[in-house]
């Protein structure tokens, strides 16, 4: 059974997925942060691979990516850093990134090396479902990786069912059609999550975008299996003097 599947079998609510950018704030802080996330109660780690043109990300995550790139982060460096990951980190790890760096690295090579270091799944927001079906999905599957599609309040029911059927691991519900870090009225989101819940989807649902504190985490978790925190966590790391302490303080403010 995959780590994600196992997780959702044993924990059905308030699953906390924390996003961090690989190579931020320092080139070598990646694994340290991942260890601290596990120690302090995160259930899933979503590790962002920095890109020069991250279309779906807001200013805070973009800026962290630029710093990571300036620090020298690349996919190759990242896989090197993750070589011994599974000696210290046991929770599921998902790589999030954009198609261009991945296809330059070689899609097949990327998937097999990700699987080899113990990565569990991928989120590639600009991989369209058509190309997933005709080309890339099979490679992802062959390497035993999960693939998580995004859905939004504007996604039609028919398309939702399709994306749910293509996803494994969980479904990433964008809480409003917005780039990461945007503030939107959270109450407006509840109805959408309720609608998702009533659809009895195949996959667990995690809510992302706009989750920034205990209140928004709890409220998102009410109608889903949990939530994803990104921008708020990156902000907490921005001026950190002691990374382990910052991670601890941040997570204790959420759970």
């Amino acid at each position: 059974m995959s780590r994600l599947k196992e997780l959702f079998v044993s924990k059905k609510s308030k699953v906390l997925n924390v996003y961090c950018t690989a190579g931020f704030p320092e080139l070598n802080s990646t694994v340290k942060i991942m260890q601290a996330l596990e120690t302090n109660g995160a259930n899933i780690i979503e590790l962002g691979m920095p890109y020069s043109d991250p279309l779906a990300d807001g200013p805070v995550i973009q800026a962290s990516g630029n710093i990571a790139l300036a620090n020298g982060m690349t996919i190759k460096v990242l896989f090197d850093q993750l070589k011994d990951l599974r000696k210290t980190v046991t929770i599921p790890v998902i790589l999030m990134g954009y198609m261009n760096p991945v296809i330059q690295y070689g899609f097949e090579k990327f998937c097999s090396e990700a699987a080899a270091v113990g990565v569990d799944g991928l989120i590639l927001p600009d991989l369209p479902e058509h190309e997933f079906e005709i080309e890339f999905g099979a490679i992802i599957k062959k390497n035993g990786l999960d693939f998580i599609f995004l859905v939004t309040p504007e996604t039609s029911e028919e398309r939702l069912r399709k994306l749910d059927s293509l996803s494994t691991g969980f479904l990433y519900a964008v809480s409003s059609s917005a780039t990461t870090g945007s503030d939107k009225d959270f109450n407006a989101v509840e109805q959408y999550l309720l609608r998702l819940q009533e659809m009895n989807l195949k996959n667990p649902v995690l809510v992302g975008f706009g989750i920034k504190d205990k209140e928004t985490f709890e409220s998102a978790s009410k109608y889903s299996n949990g939530a994803i925190i990104g921008t708020a966590f990156i902000k907490a790391l921005e001026n950190s003097k002691d990374i382990a302490l910052s991670v601890k303080q941040f997570l204790s403010s959420i759970i």
């Binding site: 279309l55 261009n100 600009d126 039609s156």
Partner: protein, 399 residues
């Protein structure tokens, strides 16, 4: 019906291996709506009537096809200039913005966003928004705002809000990122008017169709003047590639016509300061489509360089990437210096001051091995007023 065409992409938006719609789910509904409706809307009679009327009375079409006699003599062939520089706002860009604003209205949108590099597409968008009373927001790289102050002033005078793109390299590519993010955040009331034949399907095809009026006119104008509908060569500059797409469009599947695309080589193709995408790029994904892309080994997008802001883009439209890799198009390049000298030469020879972008196209005429019987059409995509500050500085025109 032709099954093999360079003109139109397949249903998924691919020209050969290039194109597609590599977009996050947040844009899916908008792009899907556009894809489902653009052809139907564009070809309904009320749309065509209004579009053609505006092209005639507002833009000033048809633009002349001018036989440049002194240039013809110099290069030993008949050289015709397609005068897109005489369009309202000074360049071909408005052909597309007129089309897209009419489309946006029919889609029920009330707010328009656009990206701009040199400001020409921004001005063309602000112009049609003023014409139709629509809210207009233009994203422009912070660096470009400094470099192109007169066009920023024009846009503001036309009622547009100019928002600086402060991420990344603060130029056109980042302005495009910001515009796309705006669209993600405002999916319901907003239409994004992309300025070139780039972006996710159906944009490359839609923009090419709106610009295709250029080659449609060339065909009948050339027939009128020479008795031949087909030129031997069509020459155009290429950044993203919208004027080239328009000038090539009705000749793409006429294989006797040589299509010559001219990219900006900056300080030299291999100088590290260049925007010659087909020469330096590898297949990649930017702004929602797969094309040729200037990038590092790690797949990070590289900032290009050209003296001409309109050619300063790290990608190229998927139609052009297909013309390049299939060998259907001939891709040449001209350096900053060659473009400057060509601009000066054309000004003195024909009494027309071209835009710096267009000057790149002029710069390669001597490399085409022309014969006396050749009929060359060069797309004079824009006028040089906007580049006067650069001309003054680089050509030392003021004592």
């Amino acid at each position: 019906m032709k099954t093999d065409t360079y003109q139109q992409p397949n249903e998924q938006g691919y020209y050969g291996k290039f194109g597609g719609a590599y977009i996050p789910e947040m844009l899916h509904r908008n792009v899907e709506e556009l894809k489902a409706k653009y052809l139907e809307i564009m070809y309904e009679s009320s749309f065509q009537k209004e579009f053609q009327q505006l092209l005639k009375d507002y833009v000033g079409r048809p633009t002349p096809l001018f036989l440049a006699e002194r240039l013809s003599k110099e290069f030993g062939a008949s050289i015709y200039l397609k005068r897109e520089d005489l369009c309202h706002t000074g360049a071909h860009k408005i052909n597309n913005t007129i089309g897209q604003i009419l489309l946006a209205i029919r889609l029920g949108k009330t707010r328009i966003i656009a990206e701009t590099g040199a400001g020409q597409h921004g001005v063309a968008t602000a112009t049609v928004c003023a014409l139709k009373g629509m809210e207009c927001i233009v994203y422009m790289g912070e660096k470009d705002i400094e470099r192109q102050a007169p066009n920023v002033a024009r846009m503001r005078m036309l009622g547009a809000k100019v928002i600086p793109a402060i991420s990344g390299s603060k130029t056109l590519k980042d302005a495009t990122n910001e515009a796309i993010r705006d669209w993600i955040n405002n999916p319901n009331n907003t239409h994004y008017i992309i300025g070139s034949v780039v972006g996710p399907h159906p944009y490359p095809d839609m923009v090419a169709r709106f610009q295709s009026v250029i080659s449609e006119e060339i065909r009948w104008q050339l027939k009128e003047k020479t008795g031949h509908e087909l030129p031997t060569h069509v020459v155009a500059c290429v950044g993203g590639g919208s004027n080239a797409a328009g000038a090539f469009y009705h000749f793409l599947d006429e294989l006797s016509v040589q299509l010559v695309a001219v990219e900006a080589a900056g300080h030299g193709v291999y100088s590290g300061m260049s925007a010659a995408t087909t020469q330096l790029g590898k297949p990649g994904i930017l702004h929602g489509s797969k094309s040729l892309l200037m990038q590092t080994e790690d797949g990070q997008v590289v900032e290009p360089h050209s003296i001409s802001a309109g050619l300063d883009y790290p990608g190229v439209g998927p139609m052009h990437a297909n013309l390049y890799t299939s060998g259907r198009g001939i891709f040449l390049s001209a350096t900053d210096e060659e473009a400057l000298q060509a601009a000066l030469h054309i000004s003195k020879t024909e009494g027309i001051i071209p835009a710096l972008e267009t000057a790149h196209a002029f710069a390669v005429l001597g490399r085409l091995n022309l014969k006396e019987t050749d009929r060359v059409v060069l797309c004079l995509s824009g006028r040089g007023d906007k580049d006067l500050a650069t001309y003054i500085k680089e050509l030392k025109l003021v004592d």
